[in-house]
């Protein structure tokens, strides 16, 4: 027992010295998450803003100008005016406009008489996601304008009663608040898996692993000696990333810090376990990095429910998502960041993380052999 502890202490001291002297691990733990968070935090957006839109006013009037003004005030759109519908459609075909808003010649008359001015809206459906967003936004602007007109004229709002959507937990419907927690889960999956997979592959490449193997050290000691330092490093990176999200991207943190810490630790164990599992098959840093990206980063991005809704996936794909640790962590993070400590969300997902971490670490322990074949 004493001898085992001494071996572990020796390995740990070596590992920390290496982390300190070779900055590549520090870069993976701190630099990589920061760069990715900046890149995706600003790059990935589910909001429509500055969407180019063509506006066709067949008969210019004060009312039509007021309507156009409502669009121009919205930061979502950038309006271009056209006199005929044909010109506007051509602009849409050339992708100079994402959609067309058409005020027919009887716009004024019907707006005054019925208070319900019909408009024509054409949306470029090539990009379905944007099309749907544009459609919704146009409707909102239109309904808002109608309601305003009605209020000014002292009339009740036109029927059907415009929906008053109330978005809970993310009042400004700022998609960044929703994206950043998801990004953190995704980025930390990659960082955690890379940390362990790369350092072990590096030991294989440099021949140090072969030399370790013939000492009295056991596989369990080697694995623990990798897990502890990179857990510390990974959690450091996690804290830095969360701080970046809160202070740089102004994402609110409504849940408690300790709930976040505990669940993050579970997730980090799962990510490091995945890296250890990768290291049992990859003996070069290149292969380890390739596997880590394909097996952790991409599923975390696509299958965690952070960008794409899991419920709308076909069931075989849904089943696969249960194996993606990021899925549970995304749910936990979105809850702790935007809603608070919602235990009904956090507890089952934390339980799933424990199970996944146990499976990965157990598999790594079972597959790692103190042999070269």
């Amino acid at each position: 027992m004493m001898a085992s502890l001494r071996r572990l202490r020796g390995l740990l001291r070596k590992e920390f010295l290496q982390i300190w002297r070779d900055p590549s691990s520090l870069a993976i733990a701190f630099l990589l998450p920061a760069v990715l968070l900046f890149l995706f935090g600003y790059g990935v957006s589910l909001d429509a803003s500055n969407v180019p839109l063509a506006l066709v006013t067949q008969r210019p009037s004060a009312l039509a100008a007021s309507f156009a003004g409502a669009f121009e005030q919205s930061s979502s759109f950038r309006m271009r005016r056209f006199l005929t519908i044909q010109e506007a459609e051509r602009a849409m075909t050339d992708r100079e406009a994402q959609g067309v808003v058409w005020l027919p010649s009887d716009f004024d008359r019907r707006a005054i008489s019925g208070g319900n001015a019909p408009i024509g809206v054409f949306v470029n459906g090539v990009d379905t996601n944007t099309a749907r967003i544009v459609e919704g936004y146009v409707q909102q602007v239109w309904a808002g304008w109608l309601a305003q007109q009605a209020a000014e004229a002292g009339r009740p709002a036109p029927l059907p009663i415009a929906l008053q959507p109330r978005v809970r937990f993310n009042p400004t419907v700022n998609s960044r608040d929703f994206i950043v927690p998801g990004l953190i889960a995704m980025i930390m999956t990659l960082s955690g898996a890379l940390l362990t997979a790369l350092v072990i592959a590096r030991e294989w490449e440099r021949g140090t692993m072969e030399a370790l193997m013939v000492t009295r050290v056991t596989i369990r000691e080697i694995l623990i000696a990798k897990l502890i330092p990179y857990f510390v490093l990974g959690m450091g990176g996690m804290a830095a990333t969360v701080a970046l999200g809160v202070f740089r991207f102004d994402v609110p943190l409504r849940g408690s810090l300790w709930a976040l810490t505990v669940t993050s630790s579970l997730f980090m164990l799962a990510a490091l376990g995945m890296g250890l599992l990768i290291s049992t098959v990859a003996r070069s840093q290149f292969v380890a990095a390739q596997i880590a990206i394909i097996a952790t980063f991409l599923p975390a991005f696509i299958l965690s429910g952070f960008v794409f809704d899991i419920n709308s996936m076909p069931w075989p794909v849904q089943i696969i998502t249960y194996a993606v640790a990021a899925r549970y962590f995304v749910a936990i993070l979105q809850s702790t960041f935007l809603a608070g400590d919602v235990w009904s969300v956090i507890l089952p997902n934390a339980a799933a993380l424990i199970a996944i971490a146990a499976i990965f670490l157990g598999a790594a322990r079972a597959l790692a052999r103190k042999r070269l074949d």
Partner: protein, 602 residues
């Protein structure tokens, strides 16, 4: 001296087998080896690259599991209890795993922790190891900043931090400079004599066999022979001779190799070493017609002679083997298919290097190197790994710009016309840069087309290569699956497709078996005879003997330059009337090391 044999052997191998799957092929890395190593002795595991040395070491260390057979180390069955064996052995892999970011001291601490050396025993143990390895002044230096020889010694120190009963050393001396090599051997001798450690030592250097108490000679996964080295050479008593005659040594060697009853003929210095099938010299009278003034002087046999004799016997027993035919069959002088290079005065230097320097950051890889090579000359760059040979080579091939100095190759200034110069150069890289997935024929076609050979001319050159290098039998085989010697021939053929004036060979015969090496040099000699200039790097001291002239490099500088005989003559002393190239190298390095220290002393 006889090995101290105290009862049971320290290591017993019983019909050990192990194969690996390479693509679709199954390679028998170890093909039924039965052997043993006596306690307290140094047993040499000797064989060319790919013979199975590393696999055998790993099997003994419990890092690989045998397919069949039994391995018993220190009386313990390795397959049953690898941890118990690992607690008592020291194993130093080929590239010992030092942590470059850790200091000498921290590396030692780590292995002391891992091997369970109690804290109170460490100071004494460290002191002894530092004294043994002379690393004392460098304990705070990071391992990554040590020289190759020092790293090797630190690796050995880490392996020895807990005194092992059985020490497995996998090629600790290959590529290490001769001085460090000698120091490593001193440490090993010390261990076996004072600490009664059993050592299993693998090497590709045949001359190291004679330092071992016993030798296991392995070739293609099988044991070719075992026993004390003297027993190997005893069989050849009276069968080794030095031949000299009034013709060029290359002609003499070429002619003798074809003589009946000659098993081996290699150039050594100005003479040719001949091994015969019977204890009589070759019939000088029958050869005198071609070789005026032919004389034979008997010389004691060496280990390599015995190895060659055994390989030849093996070939004779299995004529169907794919191994290259013995020179006696294939030794018709190669046709002069390489056209003598176009006119230029024969005294002109084909390669001229003047005050060449190359720096990488603040590290000087090549420092103020100058030499000249004449047409048709074989010029060698000899030195340990890291001496600056490869960097010099890359600059000569126009692959790397020099930091300072002038380079002229084939009349072109490499700083201005690297591309033109490259068209006249053939280059064979260390690891034979062949396309492993392509067939032999596809490789030939590809490399000839790279050199802009098309149509009839390309066809003609490929036909030439196939005939010249005996490639016909394997034309459709993929390059990856070829035996090492065959790969080497193919790589040489590819480098010669465009009939270059100059041939650069980077460690060409590193690790191939002695027969393949002889075959290779026979071809190189023939090329040189047709006027091709050959430049070769090597860390094999023996290989230097094949060169007309050579430059010995250490730490980026040329220590000396000249004909092998001249260099060896300079190291001649009363105590050592016939120094080897290695002796000369060591004398040179010691002289270079002494000079500055003496100068700095008041």
């Amino acid at each position: 001296m006889p090995p101290p044999n105290e009862g049971a052997p320290a290591l017993r191998l019983e019909d050990v087998r192990r194969s690996f799957r390479v693509g679709k092929r199954v390679v028998k890395a170890i093909d039924g080896i039965t052997a043993s190593a006596a306690q307290g002795a140094v047993t040499g595991l000797i064989g060319p690259d790919g013979a199975g040395k590393t696999t055998l070491m790993r099997l003994i260390a419990g890092l690989l599991r045998a397919d069949a057979g039994k391995i018993e180390a220190l009386g313990i069955d390795v397959a049953r209890d690898p941890l118990a064996v690992q607690a008592r052995i020291g194993y130093m892999p080929q590239r010992f795993g030092l942590y470059d970011d850790l200091s000498v001291r921290q590396n030692l601490d780590l292995y002391a922790d891992l091997q369970g050396v109690p804290a109170d025993e460490r100071p004494a143990r460290y002191a002894e190891l530092m004294r043994m390895t002379a690393l004392g002044p460098f304990t705070e230096r990071r391992a990554g900043r040590l020289s190759g020889g020092m790293k090797q010694k630190l690796g050995l120190a880490c392996t020895l931090v807990h005194p092992p009963d059985l020490l497995l050393l996998d090629e600790p001396t290959v590529g290490v400079d001769p001085v460090s090599r000698r120091e490593l051997w001193q440490i090993i001798d010390h261990l076996t004599h004072s600490a009664k450690v059993t050592v299993l030592f693998s090497t590709a250097y045949l001359d190291e066999a004679e330092r071992c108490d016993a030798v296991l000679l392995i070739h293609e996964g099988r044991l070719l022979g075992g026993g004390p080295p003297a027993a190997f050479t005893a069989q050849l008593a009276g069968r080794s001779f030095f031949a000299s005659a009034a013709v060029s040594r290359r002609r003499l060697q070429e002619r003798l190799a074809r003589a009946p009853d000659v098993i081996d003929a290699v150039i050594q210095g100005s003479r040719v070493r001949v091994v015969t099938g019977a204890p009589t010299p070759p019939d000088a009278a029958a050869l005198a017609l071609d070789l005026p003034g032919l004389t034979f002087a008997p010389t004691p046999p060496r280990f390599e002679d015995a190895f060659v004799a055994r390989l030849r016997a093996l070939d004779a027993a299995a004529p169907s083997a794919a191994a290259p035919a013995a020179p006696s069959a294939a030794a018709a002088p190669p046709s002069a298919a390489v056209a003598p290079p176009a006119a230029a005065s024969p005294t002109e230097d084909v390669i001229a290097v003047t005050r060449l320097t190359r720096r990488f950051g603040d590290f000087v890889a090549v420092n103020d190197v100058s030499f000249h090579v004449a047409r048709g000359e074989i010029f060698g760059l000899l030195g340990a790994n890291g001496a600056g040979k490869s960097t010099t080579f890359r600059m000569l091939c126009g692959l790397l710009p020099p930091s300072e100095g002038a380079l002229r190759v084939a009349g072109f200034d490499l700083r201005k016309a690297a591309a033109s110069a490259r068209g006249r150069i053939g280059y064979m890289a260390q690891k034979f840069s062949l396309y492993g997935d392509l067939s032999v024929e596809r490789n030939l076609r590809f490399f000839s087309s790279v050199y802009r050979l098309f149509g009839a001319r390309q066809r003609r050159r490929i036909d030439w290569a196939v005939a010249e290098f005996d490639l016909a039998s394997q034309m459709s085989a993929t390059a990856r699956d070829l035996p090492l010697g065959f790969k080497q021939r193919l790589a040489l053929a590819c480098a010669l497709m465009h009939e270059p004036d100059i041939l650069f060979l980077d460690e060409p015969t590193s690790g191939v078996d002695p027969l393949a090496r002889r075959d290779f040099w026979r071809r190189i000699n023939a090329l040189a005879e047709t006027g091709v200039t050959v430049m070769v790097t090597t860390h094999f001291m023996e290989e230097a003997e094949y060169c007309d002239r050579l430059a010995i490099m250490a730490q980026g500088s040329v220590l000396t330059e000249g004909a092998p005989e001249t260099i060896k003559a300079a190291a001649r002393t009363k105590a050592r009337p016939d120094p080897t190239m290695e002796d000369a190298f060591i004398a040179m390095i010691e002289a270079a090391a002494d000079a500055p220290t003496q100068a700095s002393r008041p």
